[in-house]
Every structure is written in structure tokens, then in C-alpha cells.
């Protein structure tokens, strides 16, 4: 079974600064997807960024980028130019590549606080 671990329960950063959230995972599969989701107080999970395991190039979405280290099974999220609206719970998630809509396996989450 796959597991996802987020070792930082809480992180804080000054507005406009850069912060990196850590995530490690364990799997015996070679092809899979990794995601970062944001959960604001509204409770809805919002997809931030996604990475396909077969792609060596790190995914980037505007101010959000990842550092995907497949051999180390590490998948960190970097948020540049942090904004007050980035404050939320952030979850790392894993999904198998298998047929159909495979389940998401989530980490425990990191609460990100943005200091003005």
C-alpha cells in the first residue's frame, strides 16, 4: 500500500517571501501521479499542481513549482512571492496510474500561515 508523509504540521512565511513544503511517499509502483491540494477554510479541496511520475521535468504553475525527486520519493512544493490568499492547509496526494479512477492517498497536511 502506498503512504504519503508530510513532516511539517505547520509552516509560516512572510508575505512576498518563498516557502517550501515537504512531502515524501512510499510506493513500489513506477508510474503514478502526485498532487498538491490546497484546502482553505471553505473546506473545498483545490488542485494546486500535479506531476506525472514518468516526466522528469518539474511541474510549474505560476508562483507554484515542485521539486520531484523520484529516486528519493520526494515531492516538495515551492510557493514564490507568497500572498495572504495562500494561507490554507496544503495536502500532498498520490494516485496510482492504474485503470480507471484510482483513489487518492493523502498526507496529513501542512498548515501554512502568511504573515503580513
Amino acid at each position: 500500500a502506498q503512504t504519503v508523509t508530510q513532516s511539517q504540521p505547520e509552516m509560516s512565511v512572510q508575505e512576498a517571501e518563498t516557502v517550501t513544503l515537504s512531502c515524501t511517499y512510499d510506493t513500489s509502483e513506477s508510474d503514478y501521479y502526485l498532487f498538491w491540494y490546497k484546502q482553505p477554510p471553505s473546506r473545498q479541496m483545490i488542485l494546486v499542481i500535479r506531476q506525472e511520475a514518468y516526466k522528469q521535468q518539474n511541474a510549474t504553475e505560476n508562483r507554484f513549482s515542485v521539486n520531484f525527486q523520484k529516486a528519493a520519493k520526494s515531492f516538495s512544493l515551492k510557493i514564490s512571492d507568497s500572498q495572504l490568499g495562500d494561507a490554507a492547509m496544503y495536502f500532498c496526494a498520490y494516485r496510482s496510474r492504474g485503470e480507471g479512477a484510482q483513489k487518492l492517498v493523502f498526507g496529513q497536511g501542512t498548515r501554512l500561515t502568511i504573515n503580513p
Binding site: 473545498q44 488542485l47 500535479r50 506525472e52 479512477a101 487518492l104 493523502f106 496529513q108
Partner: protein
Amino acid sequence: DAGVTQSPTHLIKTRGQQVTLRCSPKSGHDTVSWYQQALGQGPQFIFQYYEEEERQRGNFPDRFSGHQFPNYSSELNVNALLLGDSALYLCASTPRGFSRLDYGYTFGSGTRLTVV
């Protein structure tokens, strides 16, 4: 385009009672998954429905059951409620036959269940 809608938003039940939560998937999505998110934790996969059948199931007891209707909407039923069932219940939908370029899940804002 409506996203995933869940009802009710909040619910208070007494131990031993039964509860039904409802989910309408995003337009164009035919697969519905349910997740339980305890306070301060990441979501845990309960089960997934496609073509009105349970396709995958997480490590949850038989007290948790579900149903999917021909219009793809879904219900989550929990019998003999325990205090430990208090959580946020999230519904996520996705198209079943998605390609590598379309593997996103759309989440609802959840139902907050409190068991007293």
C-alpha cells in the same frame, strides 16, 4: 457549470443513529468517491462508485455504505454512528474514462458531521 454539490453542509447526530449524506457530481463526471477527513488529518478514502456499483473500497467497516443513482449522484450512509465518525465527509467526482491529460478530481465543500 456547477461543481460538486454536497448536502447538508452541517449535521448533528446522536450515537447509534443513522445518517445519509448526498453528493451531486460535476456535470460530465460519472464517478464519485467519498472521503472522510477527521479534524487536523488528511482525507481517507471510503469508497468509489461508478455505473451504480461500488468499485473500490478503503479500510472502513460495513457500517459505511453507499449508493449511486442513474443520474450519477451518490449517497453515503453510516449506520450505528460512533463518536469517532465525527468528521468532514468530502465527495469528489471525475470522469471515468479520462486520458492522461484529464485526471483531475473535483471536490465538494463537504458535510461536517458531528456525533454527540
